[in-house]
């Protein structure tokens, strides 16, 4: 195996933090591809050039995604990275692996690829970095024979992901793990056979802490919430008061100012609460969500790839999310139909709603306009009025001006 001199990337091993260079060098001891990747990286640093070609016609039979072509221009100098495709492996809900499963994944990956991984990619999948084209089919055959599947890539539904939910968290307002698995199974065709105009992502958070950052990263964000009053244990509040300034750290930090504390009793005006979770996460023993539990569904967030970033926008203020999720699946299909019919290639649903307006979107998916959908105060009341309403208003206004009754 060729030994590369790597003074520039060695610098990245210094300091107190873990270094990806150290990990690559460990893999390089036993793997020619990983070894060439180390040499290739040093060359990129020394010439200040990237040599990667991006994208291509690689994949496995029957799948339109899950493999992303990567090639190096320096294939002759570094044959191990001439083909260095990325493989996305669908992760289990909330990334719960047994050590046995991880050993199985790595055993297969060491056999066919570079042994390098990215655990995990930002979509959520286990990312396997560096596979030659002719190894893709045997790699996939071995994974699928043991129950693993590829994740989504390209213009398709991306691998859904969720927070740990009720498996480890008392604040989960619905079973994030179950819905993530259920929708992954339901929409296999959309995941593996790209026919959307661009990517589409689901992310499931059990509460407003939003541990998978669904509000910013998912075309369709599911964020757990509740209907009802926050349960207060006043004895525990007193205990917290011994070590915490409740007014400074809780009451004054409440975004809606719906709390008060007089040194004896904590009061919450639940009608004004927007369920941000701040007080509950700071006083875990004293406060708990109460009443009916479910989720808020928001739409349209994205990172700034084509145009600017967006945060998701509420479309369903409250829905109970329980198997078999029939109502939700129907809603998702309606959303996809409208998006497919109206969007341009590489236009995300959030961008399309910005163009067409929330009113058209709500009409198409059969959801009534509601006050909770208003994105910013004094901005979106248009969604309550149809074109006919506005025409009628303008006709009235013209009539009033003509007859001298116009008062503004």
């Amino acid at each position: 195996m060729k030994k590369y001199n790597t003074p520039l990337i060695d610098d990245l091993e210094k300091g107190p933090w873990p270094s990806f260079v150290t990990e690559m060098k460990k893999a390089a001891k036993n793997n020619e591809m990983a070894n060439d990747a180390v040499g290739h990286l040093e060359k990129c640093y020394s010439t200040k050039l990237g040599y990667w070609k991006h994208g291509g016609i690689v994949g496995v039979l029957g799948y339109g995604g899950g493999v992303i072509g990567r090639y190096s221009e320096l294939g002759e100098e570094f044959p191990g990275v001439a083909h260095f495709h990325t493989v996305r492996l669908n992760h289990p809900s909330a990334w719960f692996y047994t050590t046995k499963a991880l050993r199985e994944v790595m055993g297969i990956w060491d056999k066919y690829g570079s042994g390098l991984t990215n655990v995990h990619g930002s979509t959520g999948d286990m990312i396997l970095l560096g596979c030659k084209t002719d190894a893709l089919e045997p790699l996939f055959a071995e994974y699928s024979s043991r129950g693993w599947d590829l994740g989504g890539s390209g213009s398709a539904l991306r691998t859904p992901s969720c927070c740990v939910g009720p498996a480890r968290c008392e604040w989960a307002n619905y079973d994030t793990l179950d819905i993530c698995y259920n929708l992954t199974q339901e929409f296999q065709d959309e995941l593996h056979r790209p026919s959307f105009n661009y990517k589409f992502k689901f992310k499931f958070s059990g509460c407003a802490c939003d541990c998978v950052a669904s509000i910013a990263r998912a075309d369709m964000s599911f964020i757990g919430t509740w209907k009802g009053d926050i349960k207060i244990d006043q004895a525990e509040v007193k205990n917290y008061a011994k070590t915490m300034d409740i007014n400074a750290e809780i009451v004054n930090m409440c975004p809606t100012q719906c709390m008060s504390y007089d040194g004896k009793e904590l009061k919450i005006n639940d009608g004004e609460c927007n369920r941000c979770m701040h007080c509950i996460t700071r006083m875990t023993k004293a406060l708990k969500p109460g009443g009916e539990r479910g989720a808020t569904i928001c739409i349209g967030s994205k990172a700034p790839i084509v145009v600017g970033s967006l945060l998701s926008w509420v479309i369903i203020p409250f829905i109970k999310l329980e198997p078999p999720y029939t109502e939700l699946k129907d809603l998702i299909r309606k959303i996809w139909d409208w998006w497919s019919d109206n969007s341009k290639p590489r236009e995300r649903i959030g961008e399309l709603i910005e163009v067409k307006g929330m009113r058209s979107f709500l009409e198409a998916i059969g959801v009534a306009p509601q006050p909770q959908q208003i994105k910013e105060p004094r901005r979106d009341p248009f969604m309550f009025y149809t074109d006919e309403d506005i025409a009628k208003f303008k006709a009235n206004e013209a009539e009033e001006k003509k007859t001298g009754k116009y008062r503004f």
Partner: protein, 85 residues
């Protein structure tokens, strides 16, 4: 509803005669609908998937977005300005 063999032929015509050798699904759908106006998304999608399995069409992915193409027509590897997210 279009007949499967008509949809197949319309896809083939679009893929082999169009100016672009790689195209988005939506563009192909619009092309097919010009010949068969009453066809729908799922019919075209199912036929395109079948043609990919048969090796008639191929998929080009940047990682971020996916394009279709007639196998052997145009280049198979190219640079993309995409980030592959």
């Amino acid at each position: 509803m279009g007949r499967p063999e008509d949809i197949r032929q319309a896809i083939l015509d679009y893929a082999s005669k169009g100016a672009k050798t790689k195209f988005y699904f939506k563009d192909m759908l619009v092309g097919v609908k010009k010949t068969i106006p009453d066809t729908n998304v799922s019919e075209v999608k199912n036929m395109a998937s079948e043609m990919v399995r048969e090796g008639v069409l191929e998929l080009f992915s940047t990682g971020s977005s996916t394009l279709y193409g007639l196998k052997g027509r145009g280049i198979s590897v190219e640079k993309s300005g995409d980030t592959g997210g």
